[in-house]
Symmetry: C2
Subunit: 250 residues, 2 copies
Amino acid sequence: MIITIANQKGGVGKTTTAINLSAGLAYKNKKTLLIDLDPQANSTITFVDPHSLEITIFDVLTGKANFEDTIVKTRIPNLELAPANISLAKLERELLGDIDSHFRLKDKIADISPSYDYIIIDTPPTLGIITLNALVAASHILIPIQSSYFALEGTDDLLETIEKVRYRSNPNLKLLGVVITLHDKRTSLGKDTVAQIKKVFKDKVFKTIISKNVRLEESPAYRESIYTFAPDSKGAKDYLSLTEEILKIG
Amino acid sequence: MIITIANQKGGVGKTTTAINLSAGLAYKNKKTLLIDLDPQANSTITFVDPHSLEITIFDVLTGKANFEDTIVKTRIPNLELAPANISLAKLERELLGDIDSHFRLKDKIADISPSYDYIIIDTPPTLGIITLNALVAASHILIPIQSSYFALEGTDDLLETIEKVRYRSNPNLKLLGVVITLHDKRTSLGKDTVAQIKKVFKDKVFKTIISKNVRLEESPAYRESIYTFAPDSKGAKDYLSLTEEILKIG
Ligand SMILES: Nc1ncnc2c1ncn2[C@@H]1O[C@H](COP(=O)(O)OP(=O)(O)OP(=O)(O)O)[C@@H](O)[C@H]1O
Ligand SMILES: Nc1ncnc2c1ncn2[C@@H]1O[C@H](COP(=O)(O)OP(=O)(O)OP(=O)(O)O)[C@@H](O)[C@H]1O
Ligand SMILES: [Mg+2]
Ligand SMILES: [Mg+2]
């Protein structure tokens, strides 16, 4: 299963979900690869020092290297990482005019996907060439939506983009589901938005809601996933429960 | 003064700052224009219904309309809005190959800037053609930085982009300052990051720190700025204090 985590709204928990879902799957003994497709490299800096990287995903997508050359082991058994750095921001210019520029990742991933049970792809907060590559390469898309006013507004554009991708480039792309993130159950805005998200996405909304939990904000600073940084926290319980829901699907 | 609010990290409070700073300036009797340059149109949906718009900033930047045609009044005296909608996402493709594509906003703003004391520009979480237009058109840049681990990592790229813009396209671009947002003073991560931000940006960090305050999250849903939605809240006090600091500068 190749899961792309995408939402062009910024700061909704894409990276936090990518890190803790991929670590969760690894702890459940699934061989997992986390691909960081965000030039901000937030997933990458959680596991390695981005300045120490010789080759990154940018070199793979521009044909200068193979996936095997960039993949690094993490401290978590069963979890490997294909890291990114800022050079990825040049991808749009580099692939201009290339008729199949959004198939680059799909072509390259074919070499390595047989050796993993799950591949998780973290994306930047845009709907440009980088996120298109991730949508074309994926079997499923997971959409994190923050339970706040701005977050619900932008989902039409994302759904439209998914339809366009499905129409010609990736007919098999399925919506894995929508996960509500950064939820604060004390506020009426939180409750209202959850009701609205469920009205729009119906049974595609995961039962697990990820609550706001400061441990989730702290764990990347200590280069850890939530499971070792704060195993008894609400954040660890929420992401474990999401991992188990996803394991039941496929 | 033309202030561009930019940071390619998502969800750090760019729009929340754009809305509440422009409203704050308007309440201080400054004629203010808020320009929404984000295809997500979060600033726009706080004041008007984006589906009711005939002409938007996209039409201005592609030469099909003038600024005057798109500017709408808001319920706040002294505050006008140049709204956006999703069509703005097509700008990158529309301006491809145009040698002075990043001067479009600067050229168009010249017609209207004399009638305002302050122009505030909200930008999307990317460093593409839209944000470049905003940096070339601006006299000052205001950088909101969330006091969290990921937020500090991305500032090198932003500073590099500002230097590139300053070198050829806009030598007068000044850093108005850095404002720390979404701050939670109860956590040690919050305190550590504030210390790091002050170490990097020194006297360019505004004294006002914007604390996390749920009223700031709620007010856009009621189509209001924080000053009328929750006048006694910490959010209103923080943004009023930031407005006063900026008024002292110019
Ligand atoms: N459940 C949570 N509780 C508390 N903080 C959270 C939670 N999820 C994410 N955060 C924090 O919110 C901020 C935004 O999260 P994150 O960076 O994962 O979002 P993103 O969608 O990947 O952002 P971008 O759009 O920039 O890629 C980060 O500082 C993160 O630590
Ligand atoms: N000081 C604050 N206290 C509480 N919530 C806040 C605060 N500032 C912003 N928020 C909330 O955090 C989320 C992100 O803020 P906002 O949308 O303003 O960021 P942004 O940088 O404009 O995001 P994007 O990168 O998508 O444009 C929103 O839901 C907003 O309501
Ligand atoms: Mg991210
Ligand atoms: Mg915004």
